[in-house]
């Protein structure tokens, strides 16, 4: 080795690998998305996204705000997967807003732009029924929001 000090130095430099600054920044950890099953839910948010092509596929989830406060969220999953958030909300006419978040193939979690967020609307929460608020993203265009209601099975 004494004969080839320059070679040894080069080999050592090659084995050292790139500098720390050359590594890509690791993606941020996903937001807390642990889903706790709620007993006797009276509200359900259903989110459906139509993904036009594979390049647009990513990961998404939706937060549920009631009267301006976050009350729950759907699970994180592929955009094309239907997602649900079942909640037990206080009875009454509640202003509900859904907020959609995306994790693109490259980048960080991003709140979808205001133009593509669903509007806030009132939902009457009643015992004995489940109010189902369906948010649907089609291929292009703002999302659609529809309310339906079904009776809960008696225990």
């Amino acid at each position: 080795m004494r004969r080839f000090p320059l070679l040894a130095a080069l080999l050592a430099a090659a084995c050292a690998g790139p500098r720390r600054a050359e590594f890509p920044k690791p993606p941020p950890p996903p937001p807390p998305v642990a889903i706790v099953e709620v007993a006797n839910p009276n509200f359900e948010a259903v989110v459906v996204e139509a993904v036009p092509n594979a390049d647009d596929e990513g990961v998404s989830f939706t937060k549920v705000f009631v009267d301006g406060k976050e009350a729950g969220h759907t699970a994180v999953g592929p955009r094309s997967q239907e997602k649900h958030a079942r909640l037990k909300l206080p009875a009454g006419n509640q202003p509900v807003r859904l907020e959609h978040w995306l994790l693109p193939p490259i980048g960080e979690w991003t709140r979808m732009s205001d133009a593509l967020q669903p509007r806030e609307r009132f939902v009457r929460i009643e015992d004995g029924t489940i109010a189902r608020l369906s948010l649907r993203y089609g291929p292009g265009g703002p999302p659609t929001l529809a309310l339906s209601r079904e009776s809960t099975p008696k225990p």
């Binding site: 036009p52 006419n93 609307r121 291929p139 292009g140 265009g141 703002p142 929001l145 529809a146």
Partner: protein
């Protein structure tokens, strides 16, 4: 003696064709004139001699001329006189051509003989054969493409019982310049005649039958090929003139033999026209021209095949654009197109790359004799709006549609699907404007695609297209009296209906008359409310004047 002026023949479809000529057909009743056969034969010999001597110009066949080695030399432009000595007699004529040209050969019919005339090249490859008439009928070979060298014309008979060795037939030939002419044989894609785009080719739907085809009963067809040498996008325009008795079909094929377009808009005796057919250069394209009905042809009137190649500049449709995958990008402010052939649909693509919301407005001009419609479709081709507000010859307007990024398609068509006219073009104009608060955002035609408003805000929109209804929603955060105000619009008597957040109708009002406003005032609880605006009559619409709708708390 009965003299029939001119030539005539009748094809198998029963159509009689005739052309004027100096040739006259002499029909003699020998029983009346010559009671004895000997006298008759002597007369015939004498008559033949007199005719031959009198017309010293024509070439007399030199029997034996039953094979190409014995062929009688015939100068181009000459006529030949000959006889059919037996049912199986064949008369070979050699045609020596000095330069490129187009040759024609016509033979006048004689009694008892059913002529077949063939055309061979110097290697005795049969290039064309004609047998359009029966016994006594004339035959003609047209548009024979020739170059310098020897060719052979063979006159034969098909009637086994023919027995008319005395009557002389006349075979006329003619040589014209090749410029702007069809050059037979061009009956297959392989033998397609190259033509320059931007030129004229005159040809005939003749003969009606393609006797040398392997397919029995094959009809005549003329193939042409056009080479686009330069790289880029071009528009090809093709016009085929009308020919009496013929219903033409024009087809365009690519170099792989895939049919790209078929035109059959005109009927019998009408032409065909292809406009704005998009081609990519460099490339080669083939045209196939034929008569729709077998055995229908016309040796007397030629067709004119006129082609034009123009660089594509985005200002016109790029045919074929009959389906989503072939949609012409609509990138300029306007584009022109034609409805041809019948049932034509023109697809255009508008791509919105903006992250912000935009409104698309379309204006489609009217066309004489047609009622045009426009269909707006999403990126997958699903119809999202149909515009048919006006009637025949009137323009159509799409007042505004919300774009949110991605592809949209516009399909222009004629309403009945039965009209076409390649001679007139429509204009499709587009305008993309940024969306602003206070403008209607289509689609807002249902409670799910409802447009939200805040109490105190107003919005301007259109009752268009026909059958339009506009939904708005607002949240009322405190119980109170709310006033809904809708201004009047000419030609529309609007109905305003209020729904609660569970989509139950709570109240409704209709403007008393067309053009008058509608007002609704209600005390409402806290909640979300929907308002539906629509004309009382679905046929009412107005693409010119906006309504203004306002929600306010009293």
């Amino acid at each position: 003696m009965v003299v029939t002026p001119g030539h005539r023949m009748i094809d198998r479809a029963g159509i009689m064709y005739s052309w004027s000529s100096s040739h006259t057909n002499h029909t003699i009743d020998p029983l009346k004139m010559f009671p004895r056969r000997r006298e008759f034969n002597e007369f015939l010999r004498g008559l033949t001699f007199i005719l031959l001597m009198g017309a010293c110009g024509p070439t007399k066949e030199a029997e034996p001329n039953d094979s190409y080695q014995q062929a009688t030399l015939l100068k181009s432009g000459d006529k030949a006189l000959g006889t059919i000595s037996s049912p199986h007699d064949q008369d070979w004529y050699r045609l020596d051509v000095g330069a490129d040209g187009v040759a024609t050969a016509k033979i006048g019919g004689i009694k008892d003989v059913d002529f077949i005339v063939s055309f061979f090249d110097k290697d005795r490859r049969e290039l064309k054969r004609v047998d359009e008439t029966t016994v006594g009928g004339d035959e003609q070979l047209l548009d024979l493409g020739v170059s310098a060298g020897a060719y052979y014309l063979v006159v034969a008979n098909k009637n086994e019982k023919a027995n008319n060795p005395g009557q002389v037939y006349e075979l006329r030939t003619k040589l014209d310049r090749a410029t702007g002419r069809e050059r037979e044989p061009n009956d297959t894609a392989l033998t397609a005649q190259p033509i320059e785009a931007g030129g004229l080719a005159k040809g005939h739907y003749w003969p009606a039958k393609q006797l040398l085809s392997e397919e029995p009963g094959a009809a005549e067809e003329d193939w042409y090929s056009i080479s686009v040498e330069s790289p880029g996008l071009f528009l090809l325009n093709i016009d085929v003139s009308e020919v009496p008795k013929v219903d033409a079909i024009l087809e365009v094929y690519d170099t792989n033999g895939y049919k790209l377009k078929e035109l059959d808009a005109g009927g019998i005796g009408e032409g065909e026209s292809l406009r704005n057919f998009g081609v990519r250069g460099p490339g080669k394209f083939q045209l196939r021209l034929r008569s729709k009905y077998k055995n229908a042809g016309n040796p007397d009137v030629p067709y004119d095949l006129l082609t034009e190649l123009l660089p594509y500049q985005g200002a016109s449709e790029f045919e074929p654009n009959d389906q989503r995958a072939d949609a012409t990008p609509l990138e300029l402010d306007s584009i022109s197109g034609t409805i041809a052939p019948t049932g034509d649909q023109d697809w255009y693509k508008v791509t919105s790359t903006s992250e912000t919301r935009q409104l698309l407005r379309l204006e489609l001009s009217g066309l004489a004799g047609m009622d045009l419609t426009a269909s707006l479709r999403d990126g997958l081709g699903n119809e999202i709006s149909f515009i048919d507000n006006m009637g025949k010859e009137q323009p159509e307007i799409m007042t505004g549609w919300g774009l949110t990024g991605g592809d949209y398609h516009i399909v222009v068509a004629e309403k009945s699907g039965k009209k076409s006219d390649s001679r007139q073009s429509y204009q499709l104009a587009r305008k993309v404007i940024p969306f602003q608060s206070g403008l209607e955002w289509e689609p807002n035609n249902s409670s799910t695609t409802v447009q939200s408003l805040k109490v105190g805000e107003s919005v301007d929109g259109y009752f268009a297209p026909k059958g339009d209804e506009d939904w708005y929603e607002f949240n009322l955060y405190q119980k109170g009296v709310v006033v809904l105000e809708l201004t009047g619009v000419i030609n529309v008597s609007p109905t305003m209906t209020l729904f609660d957040q569970e989509y139950k109708e709570t109240s409704s009002t209709t403007a008393p008359k067309s053009g008058e406003p509608a007002i609704l005032e209600r005390e409402l609880d806290r909640g979300t409310y929907f308002v539906r605006l629509k004309p009382a009559d679905a046929a009412q619409n107005n693409v010119r004047d906006k309504y203004s709708f306002r929600v306010r708390a009293k």
